[in-house]
């Protein structure tokens, strides 16, 4: 075989290898899931609905709604008229935990709930802050303006 022929075969092999590499690279790029708008919408709806529904729920404590208990906790207004949970923050956390254990936990979703007021007021936090992609709940809920409630669902 002449030298030129050997070079041509070598070139063909290189072209072949480069083509295979490009195809593999393309495959990996395409296989990577893009940000799914529908999924994001569903997660956002889920976060918003979970939080707003939970806050409107009537609790076992004197038929108070959860948003009233949360407001009492953040504003430090009063203790609760029900035993054994007289601290509104502890009681609100208990109720949120019961709801999340049977919903988001059951559906294998990681989440982070943060309800806060001013810097000096107490906070309610449940779960661990999301590290990767996050779908936050929309601003919601029948809470006074100084209270911020946010539920993040980690994607």
């Amino acid at each position: 075989m002449k030298k030129a022929q050997t070079e041509i075969i070598g070139l063909a092999v290189i072209v072949l290898l480069v083509s295979i590499a490009i195809l593999f690279a393309l495959q990996f790029i395409i296989m990577k899931q893009p940000t799914d708008i529908t999924k994001e919408y569903t997660y956002k709806e889920l976060a918003a609905n979970t939080l707003s529904t939970a806050l409107k729920t009537t609790t076992d404590c004197n038929n108070m709604q959860l948003d009233q208990i949360v407001t009492s906790c953040i504003l430090g207004e009063s203790t609760l008229p029900c035993s054994p949970y007289q601290n509104p923050c502890i009681y609100a956390t208990e109720v949120f935990n019961e709801i999340f254990d049977n919903t988001l936990e059951k559906w294998n979703m990681n989440y982070y709930l943060l309800i806060s007021g001013t810097q000096s007021s107490p906070q309610i936090t449940i779960g661990t802050p999301c590290t990767g992609e996050t779908t936050p709940s929309s601003p919601c809920c029948p809470l006074p303006n100084s209270i911020m409630a946010k539920l993040d669902i980690c994607s």
């Binding site: 495959q27 296989m31 009537t58 019961e98 919903t103």
Partner: protein
């Protein structure tokens, strides 16, 4: 096409080695290039087929999620379930209506099939007042030859008009593909 003949003599006798001609070498080259070309075509085609399959699967999954969200919205606003005051919906499901919804749906299967399609819909109470049947199945219409069942959950408020209490509930929607 005649091959080139090369005569080599050694001590035992005559030996003939046949070497290919230049045109034969060229033909071999052409065949090799064609083989590589077809290999690339097959590789490209298999890649394209795989890509199409992934795209189709993604579209099906997206459509199913869309369907589940649409069904959830339809169910949420069904007058058969909504708690209303003087025809004003209050954004909650009436527990007393819920107990009779399945019988209404069973009486009009064609109408509800057009609205919901092949799916299962149930409502369960998570916190607060428990339902008579928890979960309460309000629609059950499985597809006979389905490849997958995708379930979506949507939290909702359940309202008891007699006690005036709100409970935390969830609509579970299973859509058949």
């Amino acid at each position: 096409m005649k091959p080139q003949k090369l005569k080599i003599f050694n001590g035992i006798g005559k030996q003939i080695i046949i070497l290919p001609r230049k045109s034969q070498v060229k033909m071999f080259e052409t065949i090799a290039i064609l083989v590589i070309f077809f290999f690339l075509i097959v590789l490209g085609f298999s890649f394209y087929a795989k890509l199409q399959k992934i795209t189709a699967q993604r579209e099906i999954a997206e459509k199913t999620t869309d369907d589940a969200v649409r069904i959830a919205q339809e169910i949420y606003y069904l007058p058969e379930l909504q708690y209303t005051e003087k025809n004003d919906p209050k954004g909650a499901i009436d527990l007393y209506k819920l107990n009779h919804t399945k019988s209404i749906i069973d009486l009009n299967p064609e109408y509800y099939f057009n609205v919901i399609g092949y799916a299962n819909v149930s409502i369960q109470s998570i916190y607060g007042e428990q339902l008579i049947q928890n979960p309460t199945v309000i629609y059950f219409n499985p597809k006979t030859d389905y490849s997958d069942l995708i379930t979506t959950h949507l939290p909702i408020l359940l309202y008891n008009p007699l006690s005036g209490k709100y409970s935390f509930g969830v609509i579970d929607i299973g859509v058949y593909i």
